[in-house]
């Protein structure tokens, strides 16, 4: 994924501009529920966090997982079950979902990193399908119906999440926390090693890094954050169903990341917003979502590989000399 490297060498001016833009974006998100339907915004934020978590793996480690729905959906199931059947408070349910997703990530990652490149993607896809079949049959997921009517409860025993605005600001806090975690990981020495693996795995090995362990760590972190998004979603929508563990869901998060810009911090958020918005629009128009999704995939891959944010970085924010230089 060497196309992502361009924007990473940026000037001080562009960094300052970026900070201003991020501050503005956060302000907009705080103000948004007073203007836009909050449920829609919460859906967007959950998917945006999911896409950011996915991008940690694809954009910064160069691993294309085709099975991330497993973590998103499993965390939703765990959280929904704990909250509904055991009467756990929402924050505990979300933590359980996140931890469960991390454990699943450890298992899937351990198997998948044994092969590289394209095989890695196929293995994650196959294991995710296996988990899907498991969910179809396991009694606790309640099969086709899914876990319905999950109570939102009160956060820390104080904040009533049945109030839509409370719920919204909680989701926003989770989202910002998750994205901050991704940003922190990416910009740490650990993140630099991940990037070196993405750029040249053999060189990273020859420099003495045990690449396998770093990949596995990145996989588990990505899975846990995807789980955080999925568990939060289960609280917001009060259900967990099979839809969240299908391969279509894995495809959707890939699309969000690809459309927004692989290997950019903001890209997956933009991509998630666009895809969720598009699906909402199409749902009422009668035009099949699958076809639209597939077409966007094909167009992105053929002419638009940097994604929207990646293109903007490359056009306007890249230092002189790096401009227009296609990385391929």
């Amino acid at each position: 994924m060497s196309e992502a490297t361009l924007h990473e060498q940026r000037t001080a001016a562009s960094v300052r501009l970026e900070r201003v833009l991020i501050a503005l974006a956060i302000l907009a998100l705080v103000a948004a529920p007073f203007f836009v339907y909050p449920i829609f915004l919460m859906k967007m934020l959950c998917f945006a966090l999911f896409a950011c978590a996915f991008n940690l793996l694809l954009g910064y480690t160069g691993l294309l997982s085709f099975g991330h729905a497993t973590f998103y959906g499993a965390a939703a199931y765990f959280c929904a079950y704990a909250v509904k059947a055991w009467g756990w408070p929402p924050e505990a349910g979300i933590l359980l979902g996140t931890a469960g997703a991390a454990v699943l990530g450890l298992v899937m990652g351990f198997l998948a990193i044994r092969r590289q490149g394209i095989y890695f993607s196929m293995i994650t896809l196959a294991l995710a399908q296996m988990f899907y079949f498991f969910c179809v049959q396991a009694p606790f997921t309640e099969g086709e119906d899914g876990i319905q009517g999950v109570p939102r409860g009160t956060l820390f025993g104080i904040v009533d999440l049945n109030v839509t605005l409370n719920m919204y600001f909680f989701v926003l806090a989770v989202f910002l926390l998750g994205v901050f975690a991704v940003w922190r990981i990416v910009n740490s020495p650990f993140g630099m090693i991940l990037r070196s693996i993405r750029e040249n795995e053999n060189r990273a090995i020859s420099l003495g890094y045990s690449v396998g362990r770093y990949k596995l760590a990145a996989f588990v972190m990505s899975a846990a954050l995807a789980g955080l998004a999925g568990a939060t979603k289960a609280i917001v929508f009060q259900f967990a169903t099979l839809t969240d563990v299908t391969w279509q869901m894995s495809g959707e998060v890939i699309l969000m990341t690809l459309l927004g810009g692989i290997g950019t911090m903001v890209g997956p958020v933009v991509g998630a917003g666009l895809v969720v918005g598009l699906e909402n629009t199409l749902a009422t128009s009668g035009f099949p979502v699958t076809i639209a999704t597939g077409l966007i995939f094909m167009i992105c891959v053929l002419v638009f590989r940097r994604g929207i944010v990646g293109e903007i970085y490359a056009r306007f924010l890249a230092p002189a000399g790096g401009e227009g230089g296609r990385a391929q």
């Binding site: 495809g251 979502v289 076809i291």
Partner: protein, 295 residues
């Protein structure tokens, strides 16, 4: 009634036959994937969609034009093959220099579009495709009852697999293909038209998927979802077999189909999972796959 491990022999053989049928399709599809991957370095996610496409063309030929099974057996692979070549020319040929992941993503999008189009027009319910009259009925083999069409599927898939293997290993065209897999620049320098070879290869792979589709039409119902359910299992088959060897892909396909059939007899709940479990075990013990040189 004879019993083996407390299971009636008839049930055991019946499920093994079902497994062998599934295995035939796994083998034909993973063979096509391996052929395409060998030369193009692209994992063809659209393979399942092309298989479904093939089955649907057969069904539409029958319903709208009254063209029966036997002509369809020739026409369908042609149509799907030409469609594949067009896709390769127009799109895939622009992706060869990129990370192979982009090929996977593009064909994933293509699969969604093909599937979406058929879902839009024909819904998700299956359409029955009658067994051709000449193969209707069954034969009593003494120890079990064999529906003729199912026997034909196993034989036909074996012919297709062995034929493709011979084409690649024993003919001049096949030797170009294998050489181009090793070193495309050098082969081009010898005056072989490698871009054409790439187009033909993708066309061949697509035609194989289409042929598998029309063979499958009378066995399973013709439905827009038949491909996506299958392709993921075939991916697991490919991971187990390793894509380095054509023969490996074929043998693994049949083996895993049989394993699935046997699981249905002894522990039906796990029959969906068994291929994936075998994949996990193979990854633990022999990460490169049973027949694989690691790519």
């Amino acid at each position: 009634m004879t019993m083996i491990f407390g299971i009636p022999v008839q049930a055991l053989l019946g499920q093994m036959l079902v497994g062998l049928i599934n295995g035939s399709f796994y083998a034909m599809l993973s063979l096509g994937l391996a052929v395409i991957f060998g030369l193009l370095r692209i994992i063809n996610f659209a393979h399942g969609a092309l298989y479904m496409f093939g089955a649907f063309i057969g069904y539409l030929l029958l319903v709208h034009l009254g063209i029966g099974y036997w002509p369809a057996l020739i026409l369908v692979p042609l149509v799907v093959g030409v469609f594949g070549m067009a896709v390769e020319r127009l799109a895939l040929s622009r992706l060869y220099r990129l990370d192979p992941l982009y090929g996977l993503l593009f064909t994933f999008g293509l699969a969604l579009v093909i599937e979406g189009v058929f879902r839009f027009y024909y819904g998700v319910s299956g359409n029955p495709y009658a067994v051709p009259p000449r193969l209707a009925g069954g034969t009593n083999l003494g120890f079990m009852f064999l529906p003729n069409y199912r026997g034909w599927v196993v034989v036909a898939s074996l012919i297709v697999c062995i034929g493709t293997w011979l084409l690649i290993e024993k003919t001049r065209l096949g030797s170009y293909l294998r050489a181009a897999t090793e070193n495309p620049e050098l082969v081009q320098a010898f005056g072989v038209n490698v871009p054409l070879l790439l187009t033909l290869t993708y066309g061949l792979g697509a035609a194989l998927a289409g042929l598998a589709g029309i063979l499958a039409a009378p066995v399973y119902q013709v439905s827009p979802l038949m491909g996506s359910d299958l392709i993921i299992v075939v991916f697991a088959v490919v991971v187990v077999g390793g894509m380095g060897s054509i023969l490996g892909a074929i043998v693994t396909g049949y083996m895993l189909g049989l394993a699935e059939g046997l699981t249905k007899v002894f522990y039906p709940e796990a029959s969906n999972l068994v291929v994936f479990v075998i994949m996990a075990i193979v990854l633990l013990l022999r990460p490169a796959g049973l027949f694989g040189r690691d790519a």
